[in-house]
Symmetry: C2
Subunit: 476 residues, 2 copies
């Protein structure tokens, strides 16, 4: 019998691969090592747990350890892989009691990503958080609850929680004023969460627009909405230091010279792939910093695969490797690798980096390339068009402004990307653009799609078709 | 100077063509003849006017006569085209005062469709309606309002209304019990409208499922929802007669022998294209009964075009002519013909018959082929799969069951069609399927689309991807 299929990391990519491999080849030995306590949790759900829209931490878990074991997978939590020897086909794993070398027949690196630590003085002060994982979420939520009402049981940690730390935060007075450093996904979602607890919120963004990945049109509308929700925006503003009193953060200092008193801070300036494990191996990372993979998710070393937030994947539009640390690709690539290892070679597919985001009552979506520089670097001559149309027939109650941006190549008309923002069912509409990108449509072809119309849901010309019609007149 | 571009019918297709032709070629003479008073109205909005969700009839007009004239179009209302002479290039038009022969250089037939008259005894009784046009809508709404509160002014007919008829209905006692004959689009939408006025509603459907165009999975869920809303369903039941008292309908008789007392009836058993005008011409209608057209929307006779509910259009999946009397194709085909006539030949594109429908709080969508017989007739070997998944991450409040059906060809895996139904943003999701059909995707390609994920809007695997994943395992 061959050595086992070893998976490092028990989250979306790792467990998708392990589960699919076992299902397709039930006699295959599969071992998953996870360095933490938690497995298979919905990282994207943590802001909603902090907000209070989701009751229990364990609600965010899609699989319990026992469900994983029922699939015939050997799951080892609190076991950190510390080294890979690609010649002897061995992984070194440090458990709570001992360190062992485990032979593999096939190996999947699915170690995910982690929050970037800010190069900001004072970021190790008390009440300064980042948000990457359920422990961070539990700590922030504990701080927000009034100490008189706090109980660590109510967080629903299901026994995985670091109770001591949580109780320390639970005993503190909730913050009146919070600084959010970074205006990306986490920053926007956490602004909503903190406002739900009636905190005064200052949001600092180094660049001029929020949510740069969604493009300017979305960023500007989100900025307006945040201002309406009494989030104080500090755009084009860099935070230079956090200062404290008695070890706890008490003020934020900006490059503008302004100093603003705060009681807590959340740093959300991005994430980076956890690639430490490949440092002394021939497994190569690509230009994005994530691990290089081929069309089957295999790294530059035979029998070693990588998937999820630690790995690169091919971009449909540029055909170049990209780093797309999002939920669906992690699951899908993991699943394909599981099939390949089970004996049926399965390409992992490509991505267009589709994402959706809620910003208070705004629904945002983005897909493909929305950035002139990136489009030019990929050899395109980008043209973009932003239009605003109604989400329903104008006469139907509830029709709301929906803003669509499309980008296409000036010469060929090829659709490169798009974004959408609005309050009425806007987010799911991004899937039309994602599918058109998947089909390598021109904007003229997108214009000819036979999309649905009904007064309560869509005008005759869907806002995306209207955008395509206008942009088509300018390209191709 | 050449003879004018003549358009028969001032609705979506006709006015799209006229407007686009004038815009692209401002020196072109364009005359539009319309046999009625109303122009450019949203037929799909009439149930919502009757329900009371839309205030005024004129809200349903997308263009006023003066706006049309401002575009440099000569608009002649109350002018009915009665004959076409394709040899002499002449249309005979009967106006209120005189009948004239008008020469054309190019002609567009955009005469639309009309409600099929039921071959049911008693369908000419008082309080028996069909719903095709704003006058029908005004009459039904007038009947539903309490006579003491009724005022024809409040209907907002803007001077186009047949006030005498409307006042007759307005003076009558509102119906307590209403029969709807036909469980298609109009029947379902009108069930909601009548229930909003607290009428007791009986809905009769000849076949076993409602909404056959949406497939069985949608039909069954809609039937449940209607039952919950206290609509009494009579499936597999044919209405054989309407009987009256004093000239007004008072009972409906079914083939089951049952006789049910009613106060009003709405017959919505379908529509048919208005093709009378081509009866004595070489302009041919196709197998669907609508007018044959080529890829530019031209009929079998040079310089004569047809568009909208009176014309055929090519089906993307079958590549056969189909009859798709829906809003978007009417606008899009009309617009393309306008461009062609203005001097820039423009193909009208093809359709996948995408439609959306509201049934109380249910959102329904359909696209492509969902019918085994039709798929087989087009040379496919259909396989279909229905799945039910959550609309959002399961832990996020408001997640709702969403049922997706996909149909694909067993051998090639080619996606043939799909439907969706659910209460949470289900309808707009059909556009993903429509776009995949437009791209001639296999179900395996659909499965690989990089659709969006965010807990408030979509689970990691969009319900459509889940359906594709399951069906992909069975085909291709």
């Amino acid at each position: 019998m061959s050595d086992p299929f070893i998976v490092i990391g028990a989250d979306a990519a790792g467990l998708s691969a392990a589960s699919k491999c076992r299902r397709d080849n039930p006699s295959r030995e599969v071992i998953v090592f996870e360095r933490g306590e938690w497995i298979s949790y919905a990282h994207c759900g943590t802001p909603y747990f902090i907000k209070g829209a989701v009751d229990k931490l364990t609600d965010l878990q899609s699989l319990t350890p026992s469900a994983v074991e029922k699939r015939g997978i050997e799951l080892q939590r609190k076991h950190a892989a510390t080294a890979i020897d690609t010649v002897s086909h061995t992984v070194t794993v440090a458990g709570p009691h001992e360190t062992q070398d485990v032979d593999y027949d096939a190996l999947l690196i699915a170690t995910g990503a982690e929050a970037i630590e800010a190069p900001i003085e004072g970021s190790n002060l008390g009440n300064v958080f980042s948000l990457h994982g359920l422990d961070d979420a539990a700590n922030i939520r504990a701080l927000l609850e009034p100490p008189t009402e706090f109980s660590s049981d109510r967080l629903g940690g299901g026994g995985y929680l670091d109770t001591d730390t949580v109780q320390t935060y639970g005993a503190r007075e909730p913050p009146e004023t919070v600084a959010i450093i970074g205006g990306g996904y986490v920053g926007i979602e956490m602004a909503e969460a903190f406002r739900a607890w009636d905190c005064r919120v200052h949001l600092f963004q180094r660049g001029e627009t929020l949510l740069p990945a969604f493009g300017e049109a979305v960023g500007d509308i989100v900025a307006e909405r945040l201002t309406d929700a009494n989030v104080e925006l500090h755009l084009d503003t860099e935070v230079t230091a956090l200062t404290g009193t008695g070890g706890t953060v008490s003020a934020v200092t900006c490059d503008t010279g302004a100093q603003i008193p705060i009681d807590a801070a959340l740093i959300g300036i991005g994430i980076k792939p956890n690639t430490e494990l490949i440092a002394d191996t021939p497994i190569e990372s690509g230009r994005t910093g994530a691990i290089q993979t081929d069309k089957y998710g295999q790294t530059t070393v035979d029998d070693v695969y990588a998937a999820g937030d630690v790995a690169e994947v091919t971009h449909t539009v540029t055909t170049e490797p990209t780093w797309s640390p999002l939920g669906l690709p992690a699951n899908r690539v993991g699943r394909a690798i599981g099939m390949t290892i089970a004996g049926s070679p399965t390409p992992v597919g490509s991505v267009v980096e589709t994402a959706m985001l809620k910003a208070f009552d705004l629904e945002c979506g983005r897909s493909g390339i929305l950035d002139n520089e990136r489009a030019e670097a990929a050899g395109f001559e980008p043209r973009s068009q932003t239009i605003t149309a109604q989400s329903r027939s104008g006469y139907y109650p509830g029709a709301a402004e929906t803003t669509v941006t499309l980008m296409a190549d000036a010469t060929t008309g090829r659709l490169l990307g798009g974004s959408i923002v609005g309050t009425d069912r806007a987010a799911v509409r991004i899937n039309t653009i994602a599918t058109a990108l998947g089909g390598e449509f021109t904007v003229g072809e997108l214009e000819l799609q036979d999309l649905g119309y009904a007064p309560p849901f869509s005008p005759v010309w869907d806002p995306i078709l209207t955008a395509a019609k206008v942009l088509h007149g300018r390209v191709g």
